[in-house]
Symmetry: C2
Subunit: 409 residues, 2 copies
C-alpha cells in the first residue's frame, strides 16, 4: 500500500493528441499480465530525456542516448518490464536495436525514431524474441485512452500504477500533459525514477524541450530517493507531439511557456512523489528540507545523508522519535567546516534541536505525536547562508527486506 | 549470533603490565549489568587516538581530543554505555569534564590525564550523577585480569563481548597487546568502530604512537562498515604503558617496532572484523576487494558503493545470486570515466562478470553455491591500474530493521 497515494482512475489520465498506447503480454517473467508497452506518436513529435549516471548504464539507455542525439524526432517508445537488459554488453545493445527495428518495421519509420526502455532483473539476456513476437498484439491494441493500461504494463515491484494529467489553456486552446512512471526500489537522484514518460501536445522546439526536460527533472525525480541506489536504467523522457492548435513555442522567454512548464512540472512532481510513496515497503513519506546553507550542494548532501541513513529510516518506521539519529546524519552530511552549534531542526512544527543541542521546548511526547504521522517534514537550518534543497524519501521497513530478499524468486 | 565469531574466554585476554580495569552498574539504562568501565594506568602511560569525522562529534570526543593534544600522558579511561553524550552542546562538555574530574580525584591525577567515552542514545543529557556515584565501586573492582568484564560493560546492541590479545617477544622480553571493542550498528569508515581500546606494555614515544595509531586505524577500523552511518562517538585509542623491560622505541625504523606493529595490527583487525561479524542482524560476513584502479580512492569508493547498497545487502541476506545488483553498485561507485567493458568480478572462485558482461562460464548454480556460504569474498577488477582497497561488511536482514526499530524501547 503506498503512503497516501491513490492511483488515478483510467479516465483521469487524459489522452494527448498524437499519442496512442498499446500493451501486450510478452511473458518475460511468469506474470499473468501485460509487460510490454508500445507508445506510438504521429509524425512530427520530438522527445528529450535525462538518463542514469550509472557507469553500467543499460543497453537501452545507450541506444536512447544515441537515437535522441540527432533531430530528436520520435515515432515510438517500446518498453518491457521483467528484464533490464543491463550488464549485457554488446549483445544487449544488439537486442535493443533489434527491438527498435521490429517496431520501426510495424510503424513504417526509421529505427532511430524508436526509443527502447527496459526494467527488471539485471545481467540476464533480454528475451528479444518474446518481445518481437508480442509486438503485433501491442500494436493492434493501440488507442489514445490507454494510459492507465500503459502505467500498469511497466510495473515491477510497484504496488499500484502511477499516472498524472494536467490540462491548461494556452492561446485559447486546451493543452494536455499526461505522464506515467514506475519505480519502487533503486530510486535515487541522478536519475531518480526507474522509468517515467510524459507527453504533451504542445508544439515545442527540440532545443527548448531538452532544456525543459533537464530543468523539470531537477525539481522532480532528482529530489526523490528510496534507497540511495541509482539504477542502470533510470530514464525520464518528455515527448511533445505538437498537435495542439497553437503556434510553436521555441524560446524560453515566450510567456506562453509558463503554463506549459507548470503543467509538465506538476505531472513530474506527482509522479516522482508517487514513486517514493510506493517505495518498497514504505509506510511513511518524508520531506527533508535543508535551509540556510552556503550553497545548494551542501544542503542537498545533508538532506540526502538524512534520507539515506538506515538508522533514520528505521526510526521513522518505528515511529520512534530517536532524533539523535537525525543529528548524527546531519553531522555526516554537512560540510567539514559546519559549526554544529549553528544547526537547528524541526519535525513538522516541533523544534527538536536549537543551536546544536536539544531545544528547551522539546518534549518526547511532542516528538512522538509527529512521528506517528504517515507524512512528516524534517526541516533543518544550517545557519550559514541562504541556499536550500528538498528531497523526498520513505522509511525502511521489514517489508523492504522481504521484497528485496525475495524479488527474483 | 555473530557470523563466525566466538568471543574470547576471559583468560584469553592477557593482562597488560600497568593496566587495571574495573566495572560497575551505573544504571544509565534499565540494564541488569555493569555499564561503566574505569581503566587505570600506572604513571608513565601515553595514549593516541583517532576519532569520528562527524560534524556533531560527541562531547567526550571533543574532550578526548583536547586532553590528548598536550603530552599524551594518560592515567585513565572512563567509559559509559547507554548514553552517547552527543548533541548535548556545552552542557555535554561540562558533563564529560565533571566525569574526568571525579576520576582524577579518585586516582590522584590531573583531569586532563583522563579520557572520557560514551556510547548509546544520542541527544539525551548524560546522567552524570549516576556515573560519579558508581565510580568508587568501579575503582574498588579494578584488577589487571578484568578485560573480559571491561569488554562486556561497554556493549550496547552487541550480542557478544569483543576482545583480542597477542604476545610477541622483543629483545627477549614478552610484549603484550590486548584490546576490546564495541560496535554493531552505525559502523562506517572514518571512524569505523564505535569504541575500541587497545593497550600494550611496549615503551613507545608519543610521536611514534600517534603515527602508529593512524596507520593501524586505516587497515582495520577504517575498512569496516555495517550500515554506512558514521557515529558521533567513534573512537579508537591505543595506550602504551611502557612497563615492558626493554629500552624505549621512538623511531619508526627501529627493527624492534615490526613485531609490535604486527601484534597491535592483528588485535585491531580482529576487533574491527568482530564488529562487522556482530553487525546488527548480520547473517553473513563479506569481504569486498576492488583491484585494478587508478588510485586507492576509486577502489575504496567502489568497494563502499557495493558494501552500502541495501539492494546488494538484502540479496546476500537472501543467498540470492542477484548479481546484477553488484553490477549496478559498481556502476554507482566507479569513476565517471570508468569503462564498464573493462570491469570483471568474482564471487569467491566463481567469475560472474568478464569485461562488462556475464562471463560465459558463469552458471546460476555456481553463483547459488557461493551465496549459500556465510562468509563470501566479492573481488572486482576495474582493469585500469594497479591500486586496490578492501572493506568488510555484513548483510541486511529483517533483524537489522527489528533491532533499529526497537532500540530505544
Amino acid at each position: 500500500m503506498p503512503v497516501r497515494y491513490t492511483p488515478p482512475r483510467p479516465d483521469e489520465l487524459l489522452p494527448v493528441k498524437g499519442v496512442a498506447l498499446g500493451t501486450a503480454p510478452a511473458k518475460i517473467k511468469k506474470w499473468e499480465r501485460d509487460d510490454l508497452l508500445l507508445a506510438a506518436f504521429d509524425a512530427g513529435a520530438v522527445a528529450a530525456g535525462v538518463f542514469t549516471q550509472n557507469r553500467f548504464a543499460a543497453a537501452p539507455v545507450a541506444v536512447c542516448r544515441s537515437h535522441l542525439a540527432a533531430s530528436g524526432e520520435v515515432r515510438a517508445l517500446i518498453v518491457n518490464a521483467g528484464n533490464a537488459n543491463a550488464g549485457t554488453g554488446t549483445a544487449g545493445i544488439r537486442a535493443a536495436e533489434v527491438t527498435c527495428a521490429a517496431v520501426a518495421s510495424i510503424l513504417g519509420c526509421a529505427p532511430s525514431q524508436v526509443l527502447p526502455f527496459s526494467t527488471g532483473v539485471i545481467m540476464e539476456p533480454l528475451p528479444v524474441d518474446k518481445i518481437v513476437d508480442a509486438l503485433p498484439l501491442a500494436h493492434r491494441a493501440i488507442a489514445p485512452d490507454r494510459w492507465f493500461a500503459a502505467a500498469s504494463a511497466i510495473m515491477t515491484t510497484d504496488t499500484v500504477p502511477k499516472g498524472a494529467s494536467r490540462r491548461v489553456t494556452v492561446d485559447g486552446a486546451a493543452i494536455t500533459a499526461t505522464g506515467i512512471a514506475k519505480g519502487a526500489g533503486m530510486i535515487h537522484p541522478n536519475m531518480a525514477t526507474m522509468l517515467s514518460f510524459v507527453a504533451t501536445d504542445t508544439p515545442l522546439s527540440v532545443a527548448l524541450l531538452r532544456e525543459l526536460t533537464r530543468e523539470i527533472a531537477d525539481v522532480s525525480f532528482n529530489c526523490a530517493t528510496v534507497d540511495g541506489d541509482t539504477s542502470t536504467n533510470d530514464s525520464f523522457v518528455i515527448v511533445a507531439t505538437g498537435k495542439a492548435p497553437i503556434a510553436p513555442i521555441t524560446r524560453s522567454d515566450d510567456p506562453r511557456l509558463a503554463p506549459v512548464r507548470t503543467a509538465l512540472t506538476e505531472v513530474a512532481v506527482a509522479l516522482a512523489q508517487a514513486i517514493v510513496r510506493d517505495g518498497e515497503g514504505a509506510t511513511k513519506f518524508m520531506t527533508i528540507r535543508v535551509e540556510g546553507g552556503r550553497d545548494v550542494a551542501e544542503c542537498r548532501r545533508t538532506a540526502l545523508a538524512i534520507a539515506h541513513s538506515p538508522l533514520v529510516k528505521t526510526a521513522f518506521f518505528a515511529s520512534d522519535p530517536n532524533l539523535g539519529r537525525i543529528v548524527c546524519a546531519i553531522g555526516n552530511g554537512a560540510a567539514p567546516d559546519q559549526d554544529a552549534g549553528h544547526v537547528s531542526f524541526w519535525l513538522d512544527d516541533v523544534q527538536v534541536v536549537k543551536n546544536g543541542a536539544r531545544a528547551a521546548s522539546y518534549t518526547e511526547s511532542a516528538g512522538q505525536r509527529v512521528m506517528k504521522n504517515d507524512e512528516i517534514t524534517v526541516r533543518v537550518a544550517l545557519g550559514r547562508g541562504t541556499a536550500a534543497a528538498t528531497v523526498w524519501t520513505c522509511d525502511f521497513s521489514h517489508d523492504y527486506v522481504s521484497i528485496n530478499a525475495d524479488y527474483r524468486s
